[in-house]
């Protein structure tokens, strides 16, 4: 078994590591080292060298993002750090594992990130339904403050950081970093235009770095054991490990930390135990609900950013949703489209109006009221709601399952329309 820096310390019973347990496992060593012997620039350099890319879905290089925040003489006070723990992507539950199982690792990651970017205040923006995680994070924060790992002049280093826990308003849009920032300010979770990027003008108009919770959990091991070690964990172009997940009708749905670039087959068959008996794999969304379908022919594709993109989808959050032959692909796409339509913030026209329209058409097809022209309308909308047409990435992501379903499962759509019923329904 390879190294699992994110999950190797998780307890089997699912209870969180206490401060003492985390410390005994090497916790806060990286923080001690960074505060005592690294300058913020050196900490940044280590993260840049590690090749760490954001685990929230977009895969933006973490060190590169930090380097865009005004530094040195140009530094703006305050600079903010935000942990994006608003895990609301359907099928994605990887951050929850870390938040509930080892909140200290995320807190230490925030301390390291905050130190590198010169943040004076940080927020954990937590999905509102994660009440267990909220309690555990709150407890861990109290412990970290009590041990002097948070607050003023941390361990005599001269560096100060406060971390506040903020539970979200319960909207998918809050996970988009600028929507999150608006929500954190108590406003509608409408995204902001970019540029200016949050690292220049973010929370309260100040430079702000927003990182996914899993990304932050990578930082203590990187700072403790070095960039070269981190890169050595993976044989793919992307460094480190990733928490992969599988949901759907497989034998053992769940989460596994594997080296970046593990193949879909390895995850699906070796870890999740393959399809349930009597079920055949028809397709899968590799990185959560807003990624394109891949099919059995893609099973040997490595789950890293570039390989999945070449296969026609996105790594996203790395947590796949499996479609089997006993489920209606139209029904699945309808379900997802309805979710995205409902979660649109209502700011820009194509997303606000286009997604409900798609949901209406898909509902009509699913319920046997589809019309032959519907497929052309659906197809055109996957382009009209594509990147650049909408204000943010919600709608382009939302139409990814649809556009690939139309490619891979077209005959299923046509059968619905021709037979005027859902072939999977009992009626």
């Amino acid at each position: 078994m390879s190294e699992r820096p994110l999950t190797e310390n998780l307890k089997a019973d699912g209870s969180p590591l206490s401060f003492a347990e985390y410390e005994a496992a090497g916790g806060y060593e990286a923080a001690a080292k960074a505060l005592a012997s690294l300058t913020p620039d050196e900490a940044l350099k280590t993260v840049q060298d590690s090749g760490l890319r954001g685990r929230g879905g977009a895969g933006f290089p973490t060190g590169a993002k930090w380097s865009l925040a005004p530094r040195g003489e140009r530094a703006v006070k305050p600079t903010y750090l935000v942990a994006n723990a608003d895990e609301m992507e359907p099928g994605t539950f990887k951050d929850r594992l870390l938040l509930e199982g080892n909140p200290h690792q995320i807190i230490e990651g925030m301390l390291l990130a905050g130190y590198a970017i010169g943040a004076t205040a940080a927020y954990i923006f937590l999905r509102v339904e994660y009440t267990r995680a909220a309690a555990r994070v709150r407890q861990a924060l109290a412990e970290a403050y009590a041990r002097g790992w948070l607050g003023a002049n941390i361990r005599g280093s001269g560096y100060s950081l406060d971390i506040h826990l903020h539970t979200s308003a319960g909207r998918y849009m809050c996970g988009e970093e600028t929507g999150l920032i608006n929500s954190l300010q108590g406003r509608r979770a409408t995204p902001r235009a970019k540029p200016p990027f949050p690292v220049v003008s973010g929370l309260f108009g100040k430079p702000t770095v927003v990182q996914n919770a899993e990304t932050l959990a990578n930082l203590p091991p990187i700072l403790r054991r070095g960039a070269d070690w981190y890169k050595s964990l993976s044989s793919s172009a992307d460094a480190g490990t990733k928490i992969y997940g599988v949901s759907g009708r497989v034998k053992k749905p769940g989460l596994w930390e594997l080296p970046m670039g593990a193949t879909i087959r390895e995850i699906l068959e070796d870890r999740a135990g393959g399809m349930q008996d009597g079920r055949k794999l028809r397709g899968l969304l590799p990185g959560g609900a807003s990624t394109d379908f891949l099919t059995p022919e893609h099973l040997d594709t490595p789950m890293d950013f570039n390989s999945i993109q070449r296969a026609g989808s996105r790594l996203g959050t790395g947590t796949m949703i499996v479609l089997d032959d006993g489920a209606c692909p139209v029904g699945m796409v309808l379900n997802l489209t309805r979710f995205f339509a409902r979660e649109s913030c209502g700011w820009c026209t194509p997303c606000r109006e286009g997604l409900p329209y798609l949901a209406q058409i898909l509902q009509a097809i699913e319920s046997g009221a589809g019309e032959p022209d519907d497929l052309a309308v659906l197809e055109e909308h996957t382009r009209l709601l594509g990147p650049g047409m909408t204000f943010c990435a919600l709608a382009p992501g939302a139409v990814e399952p649809l556009q690939s379903a139309l490619k891979y499962f077209r005959e299923d759509f046509e059968r619905h329309i021709n037979e005027k019923r859902c072939p999977w329904s009992n009626g």
């Binding site: 902001r192 108009g205 209502g346 026209t349 606000r352 109006e353 329209y357």
Partner: protein, 892 residues
């Protein structure tokens, strides 16, 4: 010079500062848009303005961008006609139409709807969806606006104007996804006094002018005239619309230096006073035998009134009458016997204000210059109530400094939300010193609640901080001295500072203090200007004409030297205490009133001549900057209701048109020499034709009077202007002062204004209308010293008459929509004073002045010690100057 290549053609732009949408519109391309607004900036929400841009000549695919969110670059390659861009723009309309009702035929916006225009522009003409439309419940938003949420296309303009631009709180975007709702938490009148702008800001029929529904007509069936708002002293430009001889509505007329795109609700909804039951529509002559005023013919009334004019006649002018009306009166009675129809206080202060504004060192800022300022100091005036559009301008001033700082970091100045997010809650220096809480306090850096004399002392002290030669203000309390230092430090880095004061407080010291601050700032090398708020539409015009104060007329009458008094458009009860007015009427033998509404004064006249309202007459007002601006009648001349100056000329036996009166006025004094330049004269022709006040599409031209006359009558012409009350005339663009409507092929809504601007959102083609009359050639101000600190005599309060945006203005209070928003009367004391009287809010208090006493319920307000404030209602002692009063609790 910047060059854009649009669909292959090189097009030149004056500069490269704006966004691509604005540039393309300026170049004349019909790029559709919804969420962008020239005054509100770009936010990229509606996605309607998509165009394609290409990286370079080798880029054949290009990229769709929202032109409103794309900065202009020199040499940029753009395609408006690109097939993908056109398809996308059409799709945006198709999406909006999924839920927009097909109710155009019964929608108030129909025919002037930007959504209709854009739908036609994009070519979406076939509904393909088979699904039901989303519906909403609409709300009752009060007397001004009709709400129909089903028509909403979620462009967010309403909340951006209402909340972000105008500071309103009670309209919000509610809900999410395709259920986003723009309304209040519950039905109720919109609180902001700028809510009416939503009727123009909304690109479709969600917010429409509610009172206009009573006399609804399509835009193409309206006769419209350029006008000037008559309900405060700022001179906002308006378009007044009429149908069947009745005023239908008032809309904004863009003036780049004054009102820009927005009006206040007093100005927009005042117009129904024209239909008030108090209107005088026929001459009246008092006949003792018949028991009072009786209708008479124009000839008989003029004859009777003229007969009363003897050696001992005097004329009393009016700040709500036109320059020409006041001048004709002065000519009729003679300069020596012309009296300003102003209270003693207003007369004194208006004259001082003009003296200040003529000073070379103290320029009068336009509203546009005020919005461009980075710091503001308000001394005394409650501008949100006395000059609401100025308060809206000052809200922009407060954002100017942080917005410029944000823009300096590389965020385009027009990228509205990015700037707002970067600013967050930071505001530039805005200091408010005054006796009452104001609606601008919430954006003030600091407020200083003080009596008028103490406000003046603060001003003098700030001036002295910039000019060592000015006398120091003695005995300033430490906290005030600290505030002075803070203000001085805050004004120094500002690129431009505006100091605002006004006539409301009745304090010469406050006006002088304001002038001294500006003078001292400019003397120290800082850019600064002044804004002095006149209380009424033509206060400064009347004061410019000059004349003796009203008190002198009263004194003359007491001496038995007045046989006949001609009172022009003025209710003397609003100018002087009742006892003095009564005494005056008793002493005057004959009394001729010219007015449009029946007032306490007019009802006592022996002859009443029905004056035309501003919608029925031609004339000019002079605003706070000293700018003379022409308004034009929208209703054709009538036999019995005439311009005041025309009645007065008839009394004098003179027959002149407006240009004749204006020419005589211009010749009377160098101050008025520029008046004829305020607008083109009646001989002006556009390609040899008159300017039509009706659009090409005006329908029912011959049917409109068919019940009376089946032959087609000659359309009426305006004898005083270049206008024809007709659709016939030149179709071209008239000069801005003569623009009766905004209309252009494909552009039927108010957004057609784009086609009348030399640069979209900027100057008008043909320049700024109006003529500045005040030349900076007067003597410099002598340094004056601050008054002593305020101290009320024992058991006395300084009683300030509160100004309210709805109610204080005499004529607008007669409009039913405005009347519905008028506050109930009250007297306000601070908490300590109320406790000392043993009174709580709502208790009846007896307010005793020298000559009268009123009973009013108590309201608790954070007033300075020794100051009380009273709102006595629209007919009450509203125009009474600040005075000493006793206040006590009524025994039960």
């Amino acid at each position: 010079m910047t060059v854009l290549f649009v669909d292959g053609k090189p097009r030149e732009l004056a500069h490269a500062e704006g966004n691509l949408l604005q540039a393309l519109l300026t170049l004349g391309y019909d790029v559709p848009y919804f969420c962008w607004h020239p005054a509100l900036g770009s936010v990229g929400a509606c996605r309607q303005c998509a165009v394609k841009v290409f990286r370079d000549k080798n880029d054949t695919r290009g990229q769709i961008v929202m032109s409103c969110m794309t900065p202009v670059r020199d040499g940029m390659l753009v395609s408006v006609d690109d097939a993908t861009a056109k398809r996308f723009r059409k799709s945006v309309i198709e999406w909006l139409m999924l839920n927009h009702p097909h109710d155009c035929p019964v929608c108030d916006e129909g025919g002037q709807c930007h959504l209709q225009d854009v739908t036609v522009m994009t070519g979406h003409n076939c509904r393909t969806t088979r699904f039901p439309k989303r519906t909403h419940r609409s709300q009752d938003l009060g007397p001004f606006l009709q709400h129909e949420m089903n028509r909403c296309i979620q462009c967010y303009r309403c909340v951006r104007f209402y909340r972000e631009y105008a500071g309103g709180k009670d309209l919000a975007a509610l809900g999410a996804h395709h259920h986003v709702y723009f309304g209040r938490e519950a039905s109720g009148a919109l609180e902001s006094e700028f809510a009416g702008n939503l009727a123009e800001v909304c690109p479709t029929g969600v917010f429409t002018d509610k009172p206009a529904r009573a006399r609804y007509a399509r835009k193409w069936d309206l006769t419209t005239a350029p006008s000037i708002c008559a309900h405060c002293g700022l001179g906002c430009n308006t378009i007044v619309a009429a149908r069947y001889g009745r005023v239908v509505r008032v809309e904004n007329r863009y003036h780049p230096a004054i009102n820009g795109y927005f009006l206040c609700d007093r100005g927009r909804f005042a117009r129904d006073f024209v239909e008030s039951e108090k209107r005088i529509r026929t001459p009246l002559v008092r006949e003792a035998s018949a028991g009072g005023l009786q209708p008479a013919s124009a000839v008989a009334a003029v004859k009777q009134a003229a007969a009363l004019l003897g050696n001992k006649a005097i004329g009393i002018g009016s700040p709500r009458a036109s320059l020409e009306g006041n001048f004709a009166l002065r000519e009729l009675v003679g300069v020596d016997r012309f009296y300003l129809g102003l209270s003693a206080q207003d007369a004194r202060l208006a004259s001082l204000a003009l003296q200040i504004l003529r000073t070379p060192a103290v320029p009068a800022y336009s509203l546009h210059e005020i919005e461009d300022a980075e710091a503001a100091l308000i001394l005394g005036e409650d501008v949100a109530n006395t000059a609401p559009r100025l308060a809206l301008a000052l809200r922009q001033t407060a954002r100017r400094q942080p917005a410029r700082a944000a823009a300096a970091t590389g965020i385009p100045a027009w990228q509205a939300h990015s700037i707002a997010d970067a600013i967050h809650d930071r505001l530039g220096p805005l200091y408010i010193a005054g006796p009452v809480a104001t609606r601008l306090d919430e954006i003030a850096t600091r407020t200083y609640r003080a009596a008028p004399d103490d406000v003046a002392r603060l001003g003098f002290a700030v001036a002295a901080a910039f000019d060592d030669r000015l006398p120091r203000v003695a005995d300033l309390p430490a906290e005030v001295a600290a505030l002075v230092a803070e203000i001085a430090a805050a004004l120094k880095p500002a690129r431009r500072t505006v100091v605002v004061a006004g006539l409301w407080l009745g304090s010469e010291a406050v006006l002088l203090a304001a002038a001294h601050v500006v003078g001292a700032l400019r003397g120290a090398g800082f850019d600064a200007g002044l804004c002095l708020v006149p209380p009424e539409a033509n206060t400064f015009g009347l004061a410019l004409l000059g004349g003796r104060p009203l008190a002198d007329a009263f004194a003359l009458a007491r001496q038995g030297e007045v046989e006949t008094a001609l009172v022009l458009e003025n209710d003397l009860h609003r100018r002087a205490p009742a006892a003095a007015v009564d005494e005056f009427f008793a002493a005057v033998k004959n009394f001729v009133a010219l007015d449009c509404v029946s007032t306490r004064t007019a009802t006592r006249a022996s002859v009443v001549l029905p004056a035309a309202t501003w919608a029925e007459s031609d004339g000019a007002f002079v605003n706070n900057e000293g700018r003379a601006q022409r308004f034009y009648r929208v209703i054709p001349p009538q036999e019995l209701v005439r311009d005041s100056w025309r009645w007065l000329d008839a009394l004098a036996g003179v027959n002149r048109d407006l240009d004749g009166v204006a020419a005589a006025l211009a010749a009377s004094s160098p101050e008025f020499a520029a008046l004829p330049q305020a607008a083109p004269d009646a001989k002006f022709r556009l390609l040899n034709e008159r300017v039509p006040m009706q659009p090409r599409r005006f329908s029912g031209r011959t049917a409109i009077d068919a019940a009376v006359e089946v032959s087609e009558p000659k359309p009426p012409l305006d004898p005083d202007s270049a206008f024809a009350f007709s659709m016939e005339g030149c179709d071209g663009q008239p000069p801005p002062a003569l623009t009766p409507f905004y209309w252009s092929p494909n552009w039927n809504s108010v957004q057609a204004l784009n086609k009348f601007q030399a640069e979209v959102g900027g100057p008008l083609r043909g320049g700024e209308p109006g003529a500045r009359l005040l030349a900076p050639d007067g003597p410099s101000l002598a340094p004056s010293s601050a008054p002593p600190a305020f101290a009320a005599p024992a058991d006395h309060w300084l009683l300030l008459p509160i100004q309210t945006v709805f109610g204080s203005d005499e004529l607008s209070a007669l409009s039913p929509a405005i009347a519905a928003r008028i506050l109930a009367p009250f007297v306000a004391l601070n908490d300590d004073a109320a406790k000392a009287l043993g009174a709580t809010a709502g208790d009846a208090l007896l307010v005793e002045l020298d000559d009268e006493a009123v009973r009013l319920p108590l309201a608790i307000e954070p007033l300075p010690h020794g100051v009380a404030a009273v709102w006595a209602g629209p007919d009450g002692a509203d125009a009474r100057p600040p005075a000493w009063a006793r206040i006590r609790k009524e025994a039960r």
